[in-house]
Symmetry: C2
Subunit: 693 residues, 2 copies
């Protein structure tokens, strides 16, 4: 970066020297000038920022500030002590991902704000304006007036210009596994929305007007606006309180056991608060703003980090074929059964086999706020891990470890070294972690500062042991997979397991909203690939079902990116549709490039991705509960070349309710000029493999 | 144990069958019949117990019971489902201690109480009646009606027969470092008592009527009664709420971060509630009831556990010669300085050298509720631990490790293995742990169930590494050194460091109360042996001072038992009084026998102890602020043999205020018929070494 401490006058007419004028405004624009960020310091001392995109209002003047409980200070009235600006334009390469290189191009404004009160405290607000949005964070430099401090509240506002269409989840300190609600902002009612949700294991609802980020707006004048955060480290998750009259959101940090929000020590900073904006929905999905706001990888040699596909001992517990616990006689994770999964994985080319329920403790793991549940190193007696790891190795497959903490994180932390050492001894280098249940330390929340610190500790320690992580029930991801590329995926949203939840399940639109919200922060272990739609296979009383077609299940491998991708269904269900299963076998989990072909949140999306290091492309298209006719433009293909397209599409009669298993597979030649009409059934999708001839 | 399921009628006239009579009473007596315990089940369902000693009332009818918050249940009205009795008389040998063998002799009554409400829950109350008192605990057997449960309140009462003279500390969830107050029970005022205490780092006062155990009463009819607890594991500390009108105490358990008291799973039990009683004060000090109520040692081969005396890098920080932190230029724990302590220890025959302030982090360790303070493995750059451990080893001395957690216990637990492994690598096998400051997990208390669990985890893990523990700022000890003999001592009371506290210091009476209260639970690392009394040696502005004579400092090595005993003063202060220092060099820290010669709480005590495996005895006598003429009867010596007594006594002009350093050393022959008159100065004492000729 080339920092330029420039004359304030360099901002031109918009800026005036504080000693001469009562009101100051400083503005910077994005590199392409489409976005303008302006910061105003009023005579009262309040500092507000606003954002516009191509002249349209994105964020109306919105306050910044803090309330500290120690030292007691209200940091809301300031004078601007200095203003620095700089710019950056670089390209960097992720270890894995949707694209092989990422451009990081922004202009920066760093404002040092001096408290107008008596505290003597200075806070720096750093704004970065990219072509696809704005990020800003607070920095607390080392200073005499502030060393250790406790945050009582952050007072960041996001004032909206109108009563936008809003895609939102109820604000909750412990769960992000809700369906998204689509209402006007003024119609947010988190209590009613939460009351509809009967299947969530643990809820800590904040209140009627509190919602979660990531949050998406669609405005009447054609803008898409995402509000989220990046680089969530050593700080609680930011939820938002909605003022429905003023159409203003205010940060609502997650409290700890005694009601404080964060314990910090200068020099330090908050996560970035992000606003991604465009007049094209596809630009939102293509945005790399959140990754760009994260720090580079801390792992010097990432060669041991491998994207992978896996099958596993998991869905059969959900649908009642087996159980996690040994008591009761249906224990899934027994040696023989896991061997079958290993054989299946080896036969069809999967890298890993996830085994849940392998370890002693599942008999009373949930609901008792019990601290000593699992030790993470003791298999059930019917599960011979030693022999299985050797067997898997002989077949070129690896077992994936499962560490369900049951929320008892003190217990996990004190056993983590032993647990990871056990993995290393067994030659296992990927772990799915889980945090189902109320957190111990009691009074802490999944989304609080202490747990955010825990997730980071796990990522760091796992890296020391060269272990890859797939975290479930963790806080929403904020691009930290750039900094910790071994933290490959997380759940942190309503995943495919909710297909088996009796009340609401996974609605057809859910997967068309996830990429605009949750997935802006990072890969999701959604666990797609269900080939059986009525979930009464082993329990005839069940009415739960999957609300997609089979073709859409395939398309999800493209539309929901993860470098750890599961084929979630049972081997016997795949073996009934080996022709369709071929797509799951073929689809990669690491890409050189990604093109967002078409998208509308809550309705549909079509994405094309180019295989890492190969001349083949894959396309996924999905729709919500409505059938839809789309046209795919293959202009991303290499001009003048012919590709064989293998198309997995909904059959004409397909319908998620009436006929989900009706699909068609066809092979046709295409080139960069081809425009392919595709019919998507209700709840349907289409998956295409393109191989250069 | 010989359990006898006897006919209820076996209790004789006192017991009546529930189906025939509305009211039941069951009584058992101590083996010597002096103590009678009676349990009554009223027609309402309430169950009360009472205790008498030689016909005098000790505990008036007092309730038992529980309130559970999950499942919701009020367990206060019962029917007696069964009554079992048994008796035991055994002798066991502690790994180290005040005596080489201990008789465990009691009669037991186990009452199974069935909730009269709808819960279906059964609770067993197990009473053990010894010649020196009563212990009882609640047991929750495995049962359909109760598996995992949460304790909202324990409803154990102790009703006193009159408004006794009471030795008490304010009830506090985090500190037991108060002076004792001596008032009538009806005059307890914990708020006023606490307000007088200005020097305690952290207080969490419960309220005006809450006091701590161990608690001592002296009754008008000549009884001494101690109320305490034994075997505090997996449960919070029991404090007591005083009803000053009814003269009744009710258990007040320490809450966790969300207000619950304990999370339990059947089968389980509470700690023992103990009542030690005698008409002789000396019997209270001789009681082994609390040790007898603890489980036997968990350490199969305790040969590595060695009582020891040590000096250390500690007091010079308190009195301003040096600092713990490196910043500021007075860092005590530098290689050269510690070498001097090693030389001193080697020259005068000490086993260990405690080194505080050795590790990075002391610059901001206190007061910020900071989680990542110390890592326990990184010495300051001016402290070359590798060279020092080698140097110490060459001189036959060991360094004692210091793990100050600053209350950040999550941090300590996640680093504990590495910290202990580092000790093993350095050949260090004793650690002083510290818990100064507010606990993390935030919202937890030093005395809560979670921390009680932590202390046990430390003891267990340390044992795995063959490490001995001296814990400071931990919860009050309850005889767990029987079960974990490597947990050798703790502070858990106001220790000698308070001599340097400006407000109240250590009053002359304090050390005459400690043996009747705090020390009933186990050894205390009081750190006696101060030879300089005005503490302005390095800071002329200080007015703090030691409120004893020098002879009393010597006597404390006998009257305050610990297997880890420090000579706390600076080498240069000892070298001015090498004749007196000889006693500290000679006094053992492990004993074959102990005789309490005379004692009155708050006034004086005289104790004789026989060296482990040798024919030598040591006697210590101390008084409070009053001078006193006592006579020591040497009838404990082997008849017909002559012993050379080396007597370290107050000089005639000695006085803790005016002339603390005036002492006399004389050698005289004594035998079992000798009665030696001794004058104790105000705040004075006397120490005697007896060697068989």
């Amino acid at each position: 970066m080339l920092p330029i401490r420039f004359l304030l006058a360099a901002f031109g007419a918009l800026y005036s020297c504080p000693s001469l004028f009562a009101q100051q405004t400083i503005s910077i624009s994005s590199p392409d000038k489409a976005i303008i960020l302006s910061v105003n310091n009023a005579p009262t001392g309040s500092v507000t920022y606003k954002v516009s995109y191509k002249g349209k209002k994105v964020i109306e003047p919105s306050g910044v500030g803090f309330i500290l409980s120690k030292p007691k200070a209200s940091l809301t009235q300031f004078t601007i002590a200095s203003a620095d600006s700089s710019a950056k334009d670089e390209t960097w390469k992720p270890v894995w991902g949707e694209v092989s290189q990422i451009r990081n191009n922004y202009k920066e404004l760093a404002l040092t704000l001096a408290d107008k009160g008596s505290s003597g405290i200075k806070v720096l607000v750093r704004f970065r304006v990219f072509n696809d949005g704005v990020g800003f964070r607070y920095e607390f430099p080392q200073q005499t007036a502030l060393t250790h401090f406790v945050v009582a509240d952050e007072k960041t506002q996001f004032a909206l210009a109108a009563d936008h269409k809003t895609f939102w989840q109820p604000g909750d300190y412990d769960s992000n596994e809700y369906l998204y609600n689509t209402t006007r902002l003024s119609e947010v009612d988190a209590v009613t929305a939460s009351n509809k949700e009967k299947d969530t294991a643990l809820k800590s609802l904040i209140g009627p007007n509190a919602i979660q980020t990531p949050l998406l707006f669609k405005t009447g004048d054609g803008l898409y606006i995402s509000i989220y955060e990046a680089a969530l480290l050593n700080y609680p998750v930011m939820h938002l309180q909605v003022d429905k009259k003023k159409l203003t959101l205010t940060s609502q940090l997650v409290p700890d056991a005694v009601g404080n929000k964060a314990y910090l020590q200068t020099p330090t900073q908050t996560p970035w608060r992000t606003i991604i904006v465009s007049d094209k929905a596809t630009d939102i999905l293509a945005s790399k703003l959140i990754l760009n706001l994260n720090e580079p990888s801390t792992i010097a040699d990432p060669s041991w980090i491998k994207p992978q596909k896996f099958v596993g001992m998991w869905w059969e517990m959900h649908i009642g074929k087996a159980t996690w616990e040994k008591a009761g006689g249906k224990h899934g994770a027994n040696t023989q059964n896991v061997k079958k999964y290993i054989d299946f994985a080896a036969k069809y080319g999967f890298d890993g086999v996830l085994v849940e329920g392998w370890n002693v403790g599942w008999e009373d793991w949930f609901g008792n706020w019990k601290e000593n549940v699992f030790d993470f190193v003791t298999p059930y007696p019917d599960y011979n891990l030693d022999s299985l790891t050797a067997y898997a190795q002989s077949k070129g497959v690896r077992i994936i470890m499962h560490h369900e903490t049951s929320g008892s994180v003190t217990n996990y932390e004190r056993r983590m070294d032993a647990a990871f050492q056990y993995m290393v001894k067994e030659g296992i280098n990927t772990v799915k972690t889980g945090y189902v249940g109320r957190i111990i330390p009691r009074g802490e929340h999944h989304d609080g500062q202490w747990m955010v610190g825990h997730y980071e500790r796990v990522a760091e320690k796992a890296a020391q042991y060269k272990i890859m992580i797939d975290s479930h029930e963790s806080a929403h991801p904020t691009g930290l997979h750039r900094t910790y590329p071994n933290w490959m995926a997380s759940e942190a949203a309503r995943g495919s397991e909710f297909n088996n939840a009796p009340t609401l399940g996974i609605t057809p639109e859910h997967t068309t909203i996830l990429p605009f919200t949750r997935m802006l922060g990072g890969p999701m272990d959604f666990t797609p690939g269900l080939f059986r739609f009525k979930l009464n296979q082993f329990d005839s009383t069940r009415t739960t079902r999957v609300r997609t077609t089979l073709a859409k299940q395939l398309a999800l491998y493209i539309t929901l990116y993860s470098p750890l991708q599961m084929a979630a269904d049972l081997p016997e269900n795949y073996e009934k549709h080996l022709d369709a299963f071929q797509f799951i076998r073929d689809v990669p989990v690491d890409w050189d490039d990604t093109k967002i072909i078409g998208a509308e949140p809550g309705d549909y999306l079509t994405i094309a991705r180019k295989t890492k290091g190969k001349d083949s492309w894959f396309v996924g298209a999905i729709t919500d509960e409505n059938s839809r006719d789309i046209s795919i433009d293959f202009d991303f293909l290499e001009p003048g070349k012919t590709y064989e397209a293998t198309i997995y599409r909904d059959a004409a009669t397909a319908d998620w309710q009436a006929n989900p298993e009706a699909y068609k597979i066809e092979k046709i030649p295409v080139n960069s000029k081809t425009r392919l009409p595709i019919h998507l059934a209700k709840g349907g999708g289409c998956a295409i493999q393109l191989v250069k001839q």
